[in-house]
């Protein structure tokens, strides 16, 4: 066992001293993550902060009523103070100008009569004329503007539910004779006020879903970063496999095999080295992206378990590629092809949901697809139990591929002829 660890750690040392390999293991996934993040507008948030936080937004309340104030209160609530950096203004034109000047991600303009239109609509048998809240979005910050829109949409949907509910309630009260027609206006106002008072807590309720924490808005980078990390993990494992054949060619493998070290120990050490290098790569990429991009990967325990399983699955593929290939250069070529194919099939470039059904089925042979699905689940707040199936699939993949590779190695021998 000790020799397996020694061989493994030696391989990790060698991998991290290989500058060309480091470029592909660490620099390339980070650069591609940044590139795709820029394309998706992920890095347009809050100046240099980088992560989805402190989205600058200006709210203009021309309504002055209860619902208008409730929407302002929502934007300035403590629950959203990390996500949003809200300022208020009385001048819609000035607010729009701030958007045009790229000072804020969006302007939310609550028009005059907004509250009355909702509450009087609840009193009447027919809805009042529509008074719309205006969202003036910054096109250069689509992700941030989308977050602001999600907050406004949520508020309005709750208000709409309250308005319809109030209208129905007043009608039922009139029909059942519990109130007189002249009392309908007062009853409708009372219901509306209760709904208005309840609006903010209802929004909080959605975030909470049983917990005090706000529901995390999905960060595009939480899909891009693991996609890139998993794709270049395939490079790392195939490169690790390549070193097995390279050691055979450069004589260090035969030298190992004439030392008092069993063949199984040598092969085990090489596999451990590939695995350890993959884990180290993933840990660095996850830690690095968390620090550099303020990216939240999710429950650390679950992320750790997923990394271990994903690297195991990928290592299985690396070994199989090595067992099939006849030379280090063949491993490199085959490994690159598999890396790109699995990257596409696994959703590193295009979300799997946008691909045909049969592609989604085939994608299940890749560690990328299972890993990406699980990383996305964790980024959305999932726990270890939520990713049990992907982890199980990755481990099963590892077992099957290790077995196949071991059978091939056993048949052809490491060096013995």
């Amino acid at each position: 066992m000790l020799k397996i660890l020694i061989i493994g750690f030696k391989d990790v040392t060698l991998a991290f001293r290989d500058r060309a390999a480091l470029l592909l293991m660490l620099a390339a996934p980070l650069v591609l993550t940044i590139g795709l993040g820029l394309v998706t507008g992920r890095f347009a948030v809050g100046g240099s902060a980088g992560g989805i936080s402190a989205i600058p937004v200006v709210v203009v309340d021309q309504d002055g009523g209860q619902l208008g104030q409730a929407l302002v209160d929502t934007f300035t609530s403590s629950d959203l103070d990390e996500l949003l950096e809200t300022t208020t203004s009385a001048d819609p034109a000035a607010a729009r100008q701030r958007v045009d000047d790229d000072q804020v991600a969006a302007a939310v303009i609550i028009p005059a009569g907004f509250t009355d239109s909702i509450l009087s609509g609840a009193e009447a048998s027919a809805p009042a004329a529509t008074v719309q809240v205006e969202l003036y979005a910054n096109p250069t910050r689509p992700t941030s503007a989308g977050v602001v829109q999600a907050v406004v949409d949520e508020f309005l949907s709750r208000v709409e539910i309250g308005r319809v509910g109030g209208q129905v309630s007043v009608t039922q009260l009139l029909t059942s004779g519990l109130i007189q027609p002249q009392e309908a206006a007062a009853a409708g106002r009372e219901i509306g006020q209760r709904q208005a008072a309840a609006s903010a807590p209802v929004i909080q309720l959605r975030r909470a879903t049983g917990t005090a924490a706000p529901a995390p808005a999905f960060d595009a980078l939480a899909y891009i970063a693991p996609g890139m990390a998993l794709m270049f993990l395939m490079y790392t494992v195939s490169n690790g496999g390549r070193t097995l054949l390279a050691e055979r060619a450069q004589g260090t493998l035969p030298r190992l095999l004439v030392s008092p070290t069993a063949t199984a120990q040598v092969l085990g050490g090489k596999v451990f080295g590939i695995y350890l290098t993959g884990v180290a790569q993933m840990a660095i990429l996850i830690g690095g992206s968390a620090v550099m991009f303020n990216l939240r990967w999710g429950d650390p325990l679950a992320v750790g378990a997923l990394v271990l399983a994903a690297v195991a699955g990928a290592t299985g593929w690396g070994l199989l590629i090595t067992a099939v290939a006849k030379s280090p250069s063949q491993v490199a070529s085959l490994g690159s092809a598999v890396m790109l194919t699995f990257g596409i099939l696994g959703g590193s470039f295009i979300s799997l949901s946008n691909l045909p059904g049969w592609v989604q089925v085939i994608s299940r042979i890749t560690p990328n697809a299972w890993g990406l699905e699980a990383f996305t689940t964790l980024a959305l707040g999932g726990r270890l139990a939520d990713i049990a199936v992907p982890i199980g699939a990755l481990l099963a993949m590892a077992v099957v591929l290790f077995g196949a590779a071991a059978a091939l190695f056993n048949r052809q021998g490491l060096v013995q002829r």
């Binding site: 004589g251 035969p254 004439v258 008092p260």
Partner: protein, 314 residues
């Protein structure tokens, strides 16, 4: 003496290629034994079988009393191997390489650190220990390659053409190191296609060609096989001394031929060492001072040529 290695009819075939065709020999404890032969003769394949890397097609060998086919792990603990091609991790330092390989031989802790320091001194690279091997010259790499092989103080060291492709100075250093290791009690199996190296180092030589051992013995035994006499050159101070000494030696039995050239008397004899004692006695008797002596044995190149009709480097 006891045999530390005994090879019995070793055969290795790669498909239709018969790389080794029934080689038998033994190495005595404390001996330097050379396998001399041209490239492709089967030397490296023989070492690969003896070091348990390749399984023989048939035959067996005992190394330190252990069978290479049935007890490979015990055999590996007895031997050290210096492969023909450099087998090092070039991105690791010399110290890291020695540390890694020492651990592969079960060494650890203080004893490993102490042994690494000794070996680095022995190979003359103590001051380069923390440099990556990839920054070394070819000769320095060769020395690290040897250092790895002797780190665990093996009883028997296999050295497969360790001087190929290096400068004369490094070659000299390696040959001296082999002799030094042997003086310390290490047995050595040395393969080479350089006749001079086999001649300088070996107690006994096996000449191998086309996978067969075509001759085996001490150098005198081998050269006797082809019936060549030795040449004894006696360098004297003056031409007159040479003539006087030549005259004095003509009556000595066993000297087949005497000639003089300038300040030198050249004797053709079956055994130069025996003739030398007699020559020195006669020189002292007539007051001639011998300044230097040069014995030229009929060399191994001639033996190979005689047996195969080809030169070693053909």
């Amino acid at each position: 003496m006891t045999a530390i290695l005994e090879a019995r009819n070793l055969v290795k075939h790669y498909g239709d290629v018969k790389a080794v065709q029934g080689i038998s020999f033994h190495i005595e404890d404390g001996e330097i034994f050379s396998l001399l032969g041209p490239n492709g003769a089967g030397k490296s394949t023989t070492i690969s079988m003896l070091s348990t890397l390749y399984a023989p097609t048939s035959g067996d060998a005992l190394v330190g009393g252990h069978s290479i086919t049935r007890q490979p792990m015990q055999v590996r603990a007895v031997i050290g191997v210096v492969p023909q091609d450099l087998a090092l991790y070039e991105d690791l330092t010399a110290h890291e390489n020695l540390n890694f390989w020492g651990q592969m031989y079960g060494m650890s802790g203080q004893s490993l650190r102490r042994r690494i320091a000794e070996v680095l001194d022995q190979i003359g690279l103590a001051d380069k220990a923390t440099k990556a091997v990839k920054t070394f010259s070819g000769g320095m790499k060769r020395r690290v390659n040897i250092g790895v092989g002797l780190l665990h103080k093996p009883r028997l060291l296999f050295m497969d053409e360790p001087t190929v492709g290096i400068d004369p100075q490094s070659r000299r250093a390696i040959l001296d190191m082999v002799k030094d290791l042997n003086r310390q009690g290490m047995s050595v199996l040395y393969t080479t296609h350089y006749m001079e190296e086999a001649a300088e180092l070996s107690n006994r030589v096996g000449i191998i060609d086309h996978g067969r051992m075509i001759a085996l013995g001490t150098q005198p035994e081998l050269t006797q096989q082809v019936g060549q006499d030795e040449t004894l050159r006696l360098h004297v101070a003056a031409e007159a001394d040479a003539a006087a000494l030549a005259d004095a030696l003509r009556a000595v039995p066993g000297i087949k031929q005497i000639s003089t050239t300038d300040h030198e008397v050249v004797l053709i004899v079956p055994e130069a060492e025996e003739a030398l004692a007699s020559a020195v006695g006669h020189a002292n008797a007539i007051g001639v001072k011998i300044r230097s002596v040069d014995i030229q044995e009929p060399n191994l190149e001639a033996v190979f040529l005689h047996l195969t009709g080809r030169a070693l480097r053909d």
